[in-house]
């Protein structure tokens, strides 16, 4: 009787690079170390005598998307606008506690608000392009910053529009009015305008709430890609949007931070009853 079939067969494995092997190994990908970009400590905010934010303390990681959610009037937009001092112009406003970006106090003495806002860009709910050409909209920030170098401007405009996923759609009509663009395109133009001054942080206040689902999806894709280079904080009323785009979620209610954590945890197994009631729509 032959037992040839039991003889060892030379085993040839398809060659694989170490990188490919790493890809197929079952160990989870190493987590990027999370560095806090924005650190908020005991932050209170007052409109005159009325206190609208109560002792907010949280740490916003770099190159991550942090979503701020909560019912209307909970203070999330006020908090967002506190990060680049957009509330300063409102009379009677004062704050206590601290917000630091890379260790520098945003409300510190001698802080140049203009340069702060260059570091911390903002995109609003309603797109607000200037009544100028597409090109001039994107180049605006650089020009008021004193940049006149034509080639440099061209380069930044193209780069910003590309990053905002709009370049392909507008490259042949840069001189046309920005107001001729669709709502979704205008919003991406505003993102490009914010990116042109090379900010580190991007604040977005319901950037897709006025857009149709296709334009919304484009903005969400964009947010996802932009976090490679920017730290993003986004206010949204759309629960699913927060769940889709963010890494961290902070739930605000009545001016207080109720819960803050990994988005997965907040949406699958929140620690607080209030958070659960809010995200499952069982409020009130």
């Amino acid at each position: 009787m032959h037992f040839a079939f039991l003889a060892p067969v030379p085993l040839t494995l398809p060659t694989m690079s170490v990188r490919e092997l790493e890809k197929v190994s079952s160990s989870p990908p190493a987590k990027r170390t999370e560095r806090a970009k924005i650190d908020v400590r005991d932050f209170d905010f007052y409109y005159g005598a009325s206190k609208v934010l109560h002792g907010i303390t949280l740490s916003i990681p770099q190159n991550r998307v942090t979503a701020l959610i909560g019912p209307s009037g909970c203070g999330k937009s006020t908090f967002l606008r506190s990060i680049n001092r957009m509330n300063d112009i409102i009379p009677g406003v004062h704050v206590s506690g601290s917000i630091t970006i890379d260790g520098e106090d945003v409300y510190g003495k001698g802080v140049d608000v203009v340069s702060l806002r260059r570091r911390v860009g903002m995109v609003f709910q309603k797109s607000n392009p200037f009544p100028k050409s597409i090109y001039d909209n994107v180049a605006y920030g650089l020009r008021i910053g004193g940049s006149r170098d034509r080639r440099k401007l061209d380069e930044v405009v193209e780069q910003s529009l590309t990053r905002a996923a709009l370049w392909g759609e507008v490259k042949d009509r840069l001189r046309q009015s920005a107001l001729a663009l669709s709502g979704g395109q205008q919003q991406r133009l505003c993102i490009a305008r914010a990116l042109a001054v090379d900010p580190e942080v991007l604040l977005m206040d319901e950037p897709a709430s006025a857009l149709d689902p296709i334009a919304t999806q484009k903005i969400e894709e964009l947010v996802y890609e932009l976090k490679e280079n920017y730290t993003i904080v986004i206010v949204t009323h759309n629960m699913q949007q927060a769940a889709r785009v963010s890494d961290r979620t902070a739930f605000f209610m009545l001016g207080k931070l109720v819960e803050y954590g990994e988005t997965n945890t907040i949406f699958m197994n929140p620690g607080e009853k209030l958070t659960e009631d809010y995200i499952t729509g069982r409020f009130g």
Partner: protein
């Protein structure tokens, strides 16, 4: 009540209806085996289609619910649990059918031996399935953990019954076909208990958001 709560409630009702059908299938399969009643066995086999249909209906309902309502937090865990429990219930019903098919075959021959371990095993399994559904309905993680703890007992009893049946096979080769059928029956009940354990693991997930499956957590 929110529209969404009504949908969740409806899903729960469907699962309970399916659970009741499955419990009936188990108790009838036990009767078919112990009372050697092939008519009952045939009935269980015939009703399996209805249970399969329930599975399809529940699947459709859960997928619709996700598409339309985008559940989150405990609602999401409920829907995920429903999706994982349904195939377990369907599997239990299939195993009850298997028991009945073996019962029909066994009933054609004289009784090999008085059944002792298998009825105990069957009752214990039936109990576990019932309690797993109770734990689900009441969202009772502690009951779920108690059920999971009983799985080892079931495994032991299955092993014990197999050892005994082995002696019959060794004694007389004419016993083999009946003894093997009874061994199968033991195994079917043991797998139903496994399914009940899986249901209970999902109940713990539903209630606590904690995955205890494949973990070493003592129940």
């Amino acid at each position: 009540m929110r529209h969404f709560d009504r949908d969740i409630e409806h899903l729960k009702e469907l699962l309970l209806r399916m659970g009741a059908m499955v419990e009936d299938a188990i108790s009838d399969s036990i009767r078919a085996l112990l009372e050697r009643d092939s008519t009952v066995a045939e009935r269980v086999i015939a009703t399996d289609d209805a249970i399969d249909q329930m599975e399809l209906e529940i699947d459709q309902h859960t997928v619709e619910l996700i598409a339309k309502m985008q559940p989150a937090a405990v609602d999401l865990r409920f829907v995920a649990t429903a999706m994982k429990i349904t195939p377990e219930l369907e599997r239990i019903a299939d195993l009850a059918v298997d028991v009945c098919e073996r019962a029909v075959e066994l009933n054609r021959e004289p009784l090999l031996k008085p059944l002792i371990d298998i009825p105990r095993l069957a009752r214990m399994t039936q109990d576990m399935v019932r309690q797993s559904l109770d734990a689900f309905v009441r969202r009772d993680a502690s009951l779920a953990r108690q059920v999971i703890a009983r799985d080892d007992e079931v495994d032991m009893l299955t092993e014990q019954s197999f050892r005994e049946l082995l002696t019959y096979m060794l004694e007389d080769s004419r016993n083999i076909s009946r003894a093997i059928r009874l061994t199968f029956v033991g195994k079917y009940f043991e797998r139903m208990a496994d399914a009940a354990t899986n249901i209970c693991e999902m109940v713990v997930y539903l209630v606590e958001g904690k995955v205890i499956k494949h973990s070493n957590e003592a129940p």
